[in-house]
Structures are given as C-alpha cells and as structure tokens.
Amino acid sequence: MSESKGWPLWEVFVRSKQGLNHKHVGSLRASDATMAIKNARDVYTRRAEGISIWVVPSNNITASDPSEEDSLFEPSQTKVYRHPTFYDVPDGISHM
C-alpha cells in the first residue's frame, strides 16, 4: 500500500435510489476527483448499491470536537418535549 501514501483521502456518499439522499458509505484513496469517482464505483457500488456518487476530499470536512460532546449534545437529551410525541393522533391517520 506504500504507493498510495501520497494520495489524498476521499469520503464517499452514495444515493441508493431516486428521491433518497446521499449517504456516507466510507472512504478511499485516489489521486484526484475523477479517480475517486471511479474507485468509489468499483469499491462501493459493485453490488448495485447506488445510482449516484459524491466524493469529497476528507480534509474539506470540518468535524465537531469529541471533547465538546457534553456541551454540544447532552443538553438535548433532557428535552423530550422536542419530540412530537405529546399529540393525540386521530384514528385513521397512518404512517405516523
């Protein structure tokens, strides 16, 4: 794998069918965007997983800091009222 050392890392997003959103499926190495799309096609869609691919250079992604987990995410855990679970759903309404 030493040959791939100089190649940047790419994050791969695949849309499985029309109307759905692209989902992150993994990452791979490629020398440029064209190669990244081709590699993604070969690595992540060989079992008919998708109809569209996005690739994004991994270093263009800004991630939240795990050490800030407390302040970022914990407050929402105690706010159950933000879930729409306090409504009475009339009979006959499906898919809720």
């Binding site: 040959e3 791939s4 791979l28 190495r29 490629a30 190669m35 590699n39 070969d42 690595v43 060989r46």
Partner: protein, 239 residues
C-alpha cells in the same frame, strides 16, 4: 470472442488480492468477473451451436491448448501494473467497437450478448485508457515503464483483426462485422490515447499472430494448467 474473454478474465483474476492498491485490486477483479461473465454467455451459445453440443464448462475447462483460439495478446503475463493496463487498453479499444457493431448482427442472440457486454466494456475502456494516460503523462518512471509496455505488447494486438474462412463466411451473412470496419476505430483510439499520454508508437513493429489458429505463446500452457486443474482432477465437478 469467448476465448478472448475467458483467457483475459483468467489472467486478470490472478491479480485478485495482488493489485497495486485496494481500490485498483477491486477494479481489476470487477473487470475479470465481467469478462468471465461474457465468456460464459459466448461459450454457452457456441456450445449449443456445435454439431455435438457441449456445455460452457466443457469448452472452458476441457479443451487442449491448440483448441483455444484467443489472441496471443490476452494470454500475455500480467507483468507490472503498466503491462496489465496496457494489455487491457489494447483489448478494450478493440472490443468496444466490435460489440457496438454486433448490436446490428443478424444473429439476435449474439446481438443480445453484445448489448449486455457493451455496458461493461465501455467502462473497461474508460478505466484502462485513463490509466494509460495517467501513467504515460505521469512521472518519469511511470512514463518509461508504460512506454516499454507499449513497445512489448503492441505487436500482439494486430492479431485481434485476424480473419479466416469462417470469419469471412460470418461477415458475408451479416453475423459479425469485418475486421476492416473495426480497425480504423481501434487505431484512432490508440493514437488519441497514446498522444494524450505523451507516449510514442513503436515503429516497424513485428506483428505476431497464431493464437486465432491455436498456436499460442509459451505462457498459455501454464495458464491452462492452473485454470483446468480443478475440472481435470475432479471431472464433472460443479459449483
């Protein structure tokens, strides 16, 4: 056609787990699988047409070396990655126009096989030609290596346009296209890609042939020994 697909598929599958990087390993294995799939359809059909019908397994695994009529190009060893990809490019550039013309074949079954295979082969050509360009127009080392691949492999490619009596009969019947209708397309693809890759076509290239008549290079026997081993050791074995 079936033998070209089978033998090139077998060659490429030898790289499974040995590709230069994980992504390319999978890409080459995908191509190998596509080719074995195409070989399955083609050999199945030719087995049905034979005077004494044969299964595709019998045709793939139980013939003698001289009974295989693949071009010598496809049995050439994998060499380094440049050799593998250049061999693939020379073949894909020929196979794509062949399949495109087969869509209009008077033989419906063959036209159907061509339609299915063409989608795969288009991608193979895109993959192999992009790599030839990257390597040729890449570093000094990659340029030199793939230039050497071109010089050692191009001589085997002209056999792809070999025609014998049977071919001429099929051409007259409108079942397969003539070699002269495919050659200019192949030649243009070759010249365009070689130019973009900043490579130089070798001059006075000796044109090998023999594979189409069952006369193979020294590499073929080893390939067949490995490929036929299982079926010869355990006759009639099935998956």
């Amino acid at each position: 056609m079936g033998d070209d697909s089978l033998i090139l598929g077998q060659r490429l599958s030898q790289l499974c787990g040995h590709g230069p990087i994980l992504e390319e390993d999978i890409a080459l294995t995908n191509v190998a699988l596509d080719l074995i799939g195409q070989a399955t359809l083609l050999l199945e059909y030719s087995g049905e047409l034979a005077k004494q019908p044969k299964t595709n397994d019998e045709l793939a695994y139980l013939r003698l070396e001289k009974e295989y009529v693949n071009a010598i190009l496809v049995e050439q060893p994998n060499g380094h990655f440049g050799d593998t990809i250049l061999r693939q490019f020379l073949f894909d550039a020929y196979r794509k126009p062949l399949l495109e013309k087969l869509l209009d074949s008077n033989d419906e079954r063959l036209a159907g096989i061509a339609e299915k295979s063409l989608k795969e082969t288009k991608y193979h050509l895109k993959h192999s030609s992009e790599w030839v360009i990257r390597l040729g127009d890449g570093t000094e080392e990659s340029h030199e290596k793939i230039q050497n691949s071109l010089e050692s492999l191009l001589r085997y490619a002209y056999e792809l346009f070999f025609e014998n009596e049977v071919d001429r009969l099929l051409i007259a019947e409108g079942i397969v296209p003539s070699a002269e209708s495919i050659f200019p397309i192949w030649d243009k693809t070759l010249n365009d890609v070689v130019k973009e890759a900043t490579l130089t076509l070798p001059k006075n290239n000796w044109k090998f042939q023999g594979g189409r008549e069952g006369r193979h290079s020294e590499h073929m026997g080893y390939l067949l020994a490995e490929m036929q081993y299982m079926q010869r050791t355990y006759p009639n074995m099935e998956w």
